[in-house]
């Protein structure tokens, strides 16, 4: 057993952290206030190769492991959770089905552009009427000649308003239930596709979210990923990757809360000494440390299992559940430590508190994670 990152991973962590601190973090406040996506951040991430980190080398990426991915998303999210969320949607949610199931042509056509950041990617699963219950999706795809015609709506789609390419799940065979779903690659210029206007959100405001509308949207048959009926399986596989990313995303926020709280507790004086001397404050900080540190171990463990090709469905859900729930708790305590200032926009923790909540909802709610965990438990014992 060995709980340490490799030297390579540590080097990556060090250099990427310093990039994020210099290039990403300074814009985080503005990105949140304006509620606008930062193309500058995007270009920066593209330039240093982060967007292609998980794409195989032959398609212009660097084929990094999931542990490295977790390290990376933690650092990026620590600097700017909104930017990290958009990067995750593009570099992980959108690319995973193509990398794992796509045809050679699809890979060649889309992956290099996603790796270079020329394309922003997204994934369309959730619909107005179904989120957790994916088997209830209604978007239909009907084959007509050498095309599929898509009709329906997708909802709460990260990167929706800015995405160039979206992997979309639709029903191809209504009778076949879960085996009747398929994935398509949709480009924003396809006839019949449109994105709704950005939705106004509590947090992650620099990562645009919208509805996607498919009105007799024409998708060439070669844009079907793998074959018809494999959609549900692909969604599950993709979500495994995405949940590790989401867990690391949460952890980045929690770590930022810890960093900010530490700084504040050292600098802020009350009753004649730094508030860090008071147990009501420093015990909260100790709890933050325990929570973040434990979450990190669970995330690395899940990522390692996945990298090794071992069964890890449950461990991934555990990591995601734990990381997201401690993050809302940690962010709440971070605001508490900052007192009234913590409620003010000029302090980072105010944003972190709003950003944090998404973790318990996105990529499968806490409730869904517990279902996954317990289903396996009841089977095993």
């Amino acid at each position: 057993m060995d709980f340490e990152l490799s030297d390579e991973q540590k080097d990556f962590q060090r250099s990427f952290r310093s990039f994020c601190e210099k290039e990403i973090a300074p814009r985080a406040k503005e990105v949140d206030e304006k509620g606008e996506f930062s193309f500058e951040n995007w270009k920066g991430l593209a330039k240093i190769g982060f967007l292609g980190l998980f794409i195989p080398e032959e398609y212009g990426g660097s084929g990094a492991s999931l542990i490295t991915r977790a390290v990376g998303f933690e650092e990026l999210s620590r600097a700017c959770a909104a930017t990290a969320l958009s990067a995750e949607s593009s570099a992980s949610l959108c690319t995973t089905p193509i990398v794992e199931f796509g045809t050679e042509e699809q890979k060649k056509k889309y992956l290099p552009k996603l790796a270079r950041g020329e394309f922003i990617g997204a994934m369309g699963l959730t619909e107005p009427g179904c989120g957790s219950d994916l088997s209830a999706i209604k978007t239909r795809a009907k084959k007509e000649g050498n095309r599929y015609i898509l009709n329906g709506n997708k909802m709460l789609i990260t990167n929706g308003p800015i995405a160039d390419v979206i992997v979309v799940m639709a029903v191809t065979d209504k009778e076949a239930d879960r085996k009747g779903m398929s994935f398509f690659i949709v480009e924003k210029g396809f006839k019949g596709f449109s994105a709704g206007s950005p939705l106004d959100k509590m947090g992650t405001r620099g990562s645009p979210t919208s509805e996607l509308i498919f009105e007799d949207c024409e998708v060439p048959e070669e844009n079907l990923i793998a074959e018809e009926g494999k959609g549900f399986l692909m969604a599950m596989r993709t979500l495994e990757h995405a949940r590790i990313g989401m867990a690391a995303w949460c952890l980045g926020i929690a770590q930022a809360c810890l960093d900010e709280s530490k700084k504040y507790a050292q600098e802020r004086f009350a009753f004649g000494k730094p508030i860090g001397y008071f147990q009501e404050v420093n015990f909260k900080i100790a709890d933050m440390k325990v929570d973040t540190d434990t979450a990190r171990q669970l995330i690395y463990y899940a990522a390692w299992l996945k990298d090794q090709g071992k069964p890890c469905n449950v461990e991934i859900s555990i990591a995601k559940l734990f990381a997201s729930e401690i993050t809302t708790k940690v962010s709440s305590n971070a605001v508490q430590i900052h007192g009234g200032y913590g409620y003010m926009k000029e302090y980072t923790v105010e944003r972190l508190y709003r950003d944090a909540k998404l973790g318990e909802i996105g990529e499968g709610t806490s409730e869904i994670q517990r279902m996954i965990i317990v289903r396996d438990l009841l089977e095993k014992y």
């Binding site: 057993m1 060995d2 709980f3 100790a286 325990v290 559940l321 517990r370 965990i373 009841l378």
Partner: protein
């Protein structure tokens, strides 16, 4: 990174689990009986000794198995999981980890030769005496005095809440040899129970962990030969005490991980059998939610404990990580024990169900080996570093 136990460790874990389940776990009525009687289980002790666990981390030269830290705590975890008797697990841990290990790490050759073989076979039971009636969390405030007289030290004072106290033959005793020097005036001694002036004042009656006997020990002009100093004079807190505490906060906690798994299994089994509203209660989300949280707690606890083991085996100081593990596992252990009773409903409140015992047992976790409050003090001091003193510890982001 590599999160896989070696094949030998897995095989060892399985064999310890099977042993403990067969010899102890399958007969929970017997454990209940001893819990009720508040009595140590000598027959079980002999079985553990025969199985070779009592000297697990001790060198082969002295009759031990020479296991590394990780393997030791894997053994403790598997035993606690299989046996479902937390008191006995603690008796073993206090004996091997809190008495055997410090002698192994800090003892002279003569001390090792005298004590380790007897500890490895379990012929002599060991213990660790730090806490006093008036010094618990503030360990450096010990009042038990040791004064040198010729080639002996004369010990006077009282030790409190000492695990294995009533049955121990040898104790690592923390005493003050120089009050002025505070932390640096503390010395550890190896005291045998038949040294003149040593006595067990009383066996204490406890809420839980009742198969592990606890005592108040009294030292009245107790004569200890000078060669029985463990480590150096003045090194009793910084050297011996902290070494033991770091082991205690990791290895003993491994038993907590095993106990948590045992509790989770008990609950799953019950939830599948127990019918309400025409179906097993395992089908209700309120029950499922608790079971899922138990699984999360189990995985997290195990990783935290194994990490400390790995760090210790690599020689990396793990004070921070041990405190994190200790704090998390003990507190989540309380929650799991509470949920376990809740899942069992009224039956969970009855003595015939192991979760009733588990609920009482769990409370010791946040008290022993440094209270939760002490762990938070240690962790926050390392993080906040308000006095700008370098305290070391691999940190993320600091």
């Amino acid at each position: 990174m590599d999160f896989q136990l070696s094949d030998e460790q897995i095989a060892f874990k399985n064999s310890v689990f099977n042993f403990a389940r067969k010899e102890i776990g399958l007969n929970d009525e017997e454990t209940q009986k001893y819990d009720e009687k508040n009595e140590f289980r000598w027959d079980v002790w002999k079985k553990i000794a025969n199985f070779g666990l009592l000297g697990l981390p001790l060198p082969e030269k002295y009759g031990g198995a020479g296991a590394d830290t990780l393997t030791t705590l894997v053994g403790m975890e598997a035993f606690a999981h299989g046996a479902g008797d937390q008191g006995t697990s603690l008796a073993w841990g206090a004996h091997t980890v809190l008495c055997g290990v410090p002698i192994m790490l800090l003892g002279t050759e003569a001390q090792k030769e005298r004590y380790l073989p007897k500890i490895a076979t379990g012929e002599w039971i060991g213990g660790f005496a730090l806490t006093e009636p008036n010094a618990g969390s503030d360990a450096a405030a010990v009042q038990l005095r040791a004064v040198k007289k010729g080639d002996k030290y004369i010990l006077n004072g009282t030790k409190m809440f000492i695990t294995n106290g009533p049955i121990g033959k040898v104790f690592v005793v923390i005493a003050s040899t120089n009050k002025e020097l505070k932390h640096f005036g503390i010395t550890a001694f190896l005291v045998e129970s038949d040294f003149p002036g040593f006595s067990v004042a009383r066996k204490l009656n406890k809420m839980g962990f009742r198969t592990s006997p606890t005592a108040e020990l009294v030292f009245e002009d107790c004569e200890v030969p000078a060669e029985n100093i463990l480590g150096a004079e003045g090194d009793g807190f910084i050297g011996v005490g902290l070494t033991i505490l770091e082991w205690e906060r990791s290895c003993l906690l491994a038993a907590g991980v095993g106990s948590l798994e045992a509790a989770m299994e008990t609950c799953i089994k019950y939830a599948k059998q127990r019918q309400q509203f025409g179906r097993p209660i395992a089908e209700f989300q309120a029950i499922q939610h608790k079971l899922a949280d138990m699984k999360v707690a189990l995985e997290a606890s195990r990783l935290l404990v194994y990490r400390v083991g790995c760090m210790k085996d690599k020689g990396i100081p793990a004070m921070l990580e041990a405190s994190i593990a200790k704090l998390y596992i003990s507190e989540v252990g309380l929650k799991v024990a509470d949920d376990a009773v809740q899942i069992h409903g009224g039956y969970g409140y009855m003595k015939e169900y192991p979760v009733e015992r588990g609920y009482r047992d769990a409370k010791i976790g946040t008290l022993g080996a440094g209270t939760s409050e002490i762990q938070r003090m240690i962790i926050s001091r390392i993080i906040l570093d308000l006095k700008k003193k370098s305290r070391g510890g691999a940190e993320h982001g600091f």
